[in-house]
Amino acid sequence: MKKKIGVLLLSLVLVFSLASIVGAQEVKKEDTLTYVTIGNQNTLDPHFSYDTGSAEIIYNVYENLIAYQGESVTEFVPLLATEVPSEDNGLIKDDGKSYVFPIREGVEFSNGNPLTPEDVKYSILRGMINDRDGGPIWMLYEPLLGLTGLQDLVSEVLGEDISPADLSSEQSAEVFAELEKVIEVNGSNVVFHLRQPYPPFLNILAQGASWGSVIDKEWSIEQGAWDGSPYTIAEYYNPPKEDDPLYDKMMGTGPFTLEEWENGDHVYMKRNDNYWRRTANFKTVVIQNIDEFSTRRLLLQRGDADIIYVPNQFLSQVEDMDGVTITTGIPTQQNMVGIMNWEINTKGNDNVGSGKLDGEGVPSNFFADKDVRMGFIKAFNYKAFIEDVRMGNSIQIGGPIVRPLLGTSEDQPVYHQDLAAAEEHFKNAFDGELWEKGFQITLLFNTGNSARQTGADILKTYIEGINPKFKVDVRGIQWSSYLDALVQGNFTLGFMGWLGDFPDPHNWVTPYLAGDGTFGGYKGDLYKEWANETVEPLIEEGITTVDPAKRKEIYKELQTIAFEEGIDLWLDQPTGHNVRRTWVKGWYPNAMRPGLDAYILDKN
């Protein structure tokens, strides 16, 4: 009896399995776009989001005042504004300190609320009040007020170091009065007032920048976001993510609306049938998060996925697939650089051996010696890296700025491997002492990133070959340990990347070169002093100059200094690629788009 049941069950299983193998082939919905990628979304709140996963969803649901034109990252088209401000059309005024945006009429949020200039003002102010720690809102403060955040503004207005979270309602009103000066509603126009000219301001507001998204004031207040009152800054400043009312809700003017979000698993979006332009081609857009590449590949192969994310190293696995189109060589706004710490903490740091120049370690100021830096730079095998690791899908860079931004050109010099020169540099380093005694150092990379690891391995191979007394270890550490190493000054040389916030050279020179930059800020006082004298005046000049020609020269100079001084090991700017079923039409690249733009695509 039992056996019979077992056999019955087994055959049922087999029948079902076979049925589903057959059944799987038939579903190829034309009104659904399925995109399968990795990772997850940090939040759906456009003012909180600072990751591409979130920005991708926000991009399809919310809209900004302007957008990039086609593939360009420097030219714009109007979106929620009816015109792109420029000096020529008179909408950029006061020597670049006022920007006027005429707001489009007849646009509605997907809940039917009409878009008004008030919504735009609310959106900007809500973002600036929200200003979460580590968030993107510095990009509003920097151009508008020349500050890095609400904390700075509070200190400036009240003259004391008080946290925005502790403001009394009077103090709040005082701060708000200053804050409100940045944006003004003038009839159907919205006017931004900048304290200083800030040439990339339009980039900061363009579609793709989630912090520039326009949200529905009425709806947001209903959800519990900032109530629009001047007195309540303390209440809405820097909320914990889980308490943020817009964390998992969206209400935009864009072509799609949010249907369902299961973080790290999938996002479903539905067509906004009330959209102010032609409605989108897809009724449903599915973004799935599947970390395992093999699975994504199979989904594409069987047509269950229309577009998938393919890491560079696996590109060969999809190359010959039938019915699949691959676009490669897309310029991206990101780079990879070997960061060198000029002042390594040597106390209790196992990355520097003895911490002395005795052959058993490296001294604190190891990378402050230009010959050491150049020695490392000249020892690196750029050709092998680009060919083997990037499989040719990469452009070498000669400084922090990536192409095609100001200050770069096709013929700018890049590093080449030159072991003789490297040897020469090492011989000169520390007056020859280094060559005599040798050194031992640990290079770090964050685990899981094999390009960074390979970069470090390449350095190890060639440098150890130059002098047997040179000992290089490569150690992978987790992001948490990396963060700790950075803060404690324990890290030595490690490959890191920067993903552009907005396509302007300022966004590239600051993190790498400025003494308080994201990377520069962790290179110790030695670097700060040096940067203070050499590069920081140029950085300052670059961002306050309006004339593009002049700016170009300034950034060119910064790029040259960075190259010649060998401040960091400038490596490359990987190019992107897109892998999709051939039936997906209308796709074109844009370096500032955070992934998928479902609106431009079609499957017919």
Binding site: I21, T43, E242, T295, D484, G521
Partner: protein, 343 residues
């Protein structure tokens, strides 16, 4: 027996408290800046993140008892905190993933227990036969292949070459059906829901996705249970009361099934608790390999990201589950063995 259960239940909070202190103490080994990595996810965020104020905001530098006190008082209110890995509260995240893991574990456990025990009995009855040798070799080899090796080979052959058993929990089209409004998710166990909704395609798809992980996870424990049952059965078959039964003229089949098996199961039941413990660990590997979104995978990613709220919550959850399972083991032990029941 009832006294014993009550005592076990009374000790439950003590154990859970101990587990939480243990896990918390481990997490406190990590420096405050390292623990910030939960909140700072990329270098870009370093620009405006005031690390020191973040440390202060989350109280990462407070003494142990303060940090622990904060956490435990939340737990007592039913708030296990926010999991950055899941992007949800720990409770939500666990509830969301539990059905997936339950479905996998149940499907793995049932064949393990049924198959393992029957094969073990079979092997013992055929002691030293060729059949016995075959099952023995099978059990030792099964016990020796790491889950991750076995899982990858299964994936390579049954998915890569044959395309039968794909990773994940459901195909995209099946997920669409499940999420559609016509489909009612009664239990969130896809097979059962599929049957209740009379949607055999979903059932088939769910089974197709479960075959490989179930197989990978059970092979090890199958071998284990087989081994234990076999040796326990061999031992039991040598017992005097088996001879007594035979001397009464009892049929051999009845001797094995009635007299021997029930006694042989007593040690098997005790190791079942041990097995469940290992099974939970094995889920981490299996779910990771097959991209199966369950508690195991969640635990692995939470642990590697030092998502301490999730790690603590899950540790407690697993601890609770384990104690519960052990209680069940004890009860079934008592059901089988009157010596324990009547104590």
């Amino acid at each position: 027996m009832i006294n014993y259960i009550i005592r076990r239940l009374l000790i439950l909070p003590v154990i859970l408290f101990g587990v939480s202190v243990l896990v918390f103490a481990m997490l406190m080994l990590v420096g405050p800046y390292q623990r910030l990595s939960t909140y700072i996810k990329s270098p870009a965020e370093l620009k405006t993140a005031n690390l020191d104020s973040l440390v202060e905001k989350y109280g990462l530098n407070d003494p142990f008892h303060q940090q622990y006190g904060r956490w435990i008082s939340g737990v007592l209110k039913g708030d296990f905190g926010w999991s950055e890995t899941a992007g949800a509260t720990v409770t939500e995240a666990v509830l969301q993933r539990f059905p997936a893991t339950l479905e996998l574990a149940l499907l793995a456990l049932i064949p393990v227990i049924m198959g393992g025990i029957n094969l073990g009995v079979f092997s013992a009855v055929h002691h030293n036969d060729p059949w016995d040798h075959v099952t023995r070799v099978f059990s030792i080899v099964g016990w020796s292949i790491p889950t991750f090796v076995f899982g990858l080979v299964v994936l390579m052959i049954f998915y890569g070459v044959l395309g039968w058993f794909p990773p994940g929990r459901l195909s995209v089209w099946a997920s669409d059906i499940i999420r559609s409004s016509e489909f009612v998710q009664y239990t969130h166990l896809n097979i059962i829901d599929g049957l209740l909704n009379a949607n055999l395609k979903v059932v088939g798809d769910a089974i197709r996705h479960l075959v490989a992980p179930v197989f990978s996870i059970s092979i090890l424990w199958w071998a284990y249970i087989l081994r234990i049952t076999r040796s326990s059965m061999l031992e039991t078959l040598r017992k005097d009361y088996i001879r007594t039964a035979r001397s009464k003229g009892v049929k051999e089949r009845v001797v094995v099934k009635k007299h021997a098996r029930k006694n042989a199961l007593i040690p098997v039941v005790t190791v079942a608790g041990h097995m469940v413990l290992g099974l939970l660990g094995g889920l981490v590997i299996t779910e990771t390999i097959f991209g199966y979104q369950g508690l195991g995978q969640f635990f692995a990613s939470a642990a590697s990201q030092l998502d301490y709220a999730a790690v603590l919550g899950l540790a407690l959850y697993f601890g609770f589950l384990l104690i519960l399972i052990n209680l069940c083991v004890d009860v079934s032990y008592a059901i089988i063995d009157p010596r324990i029941r009547l104590e």
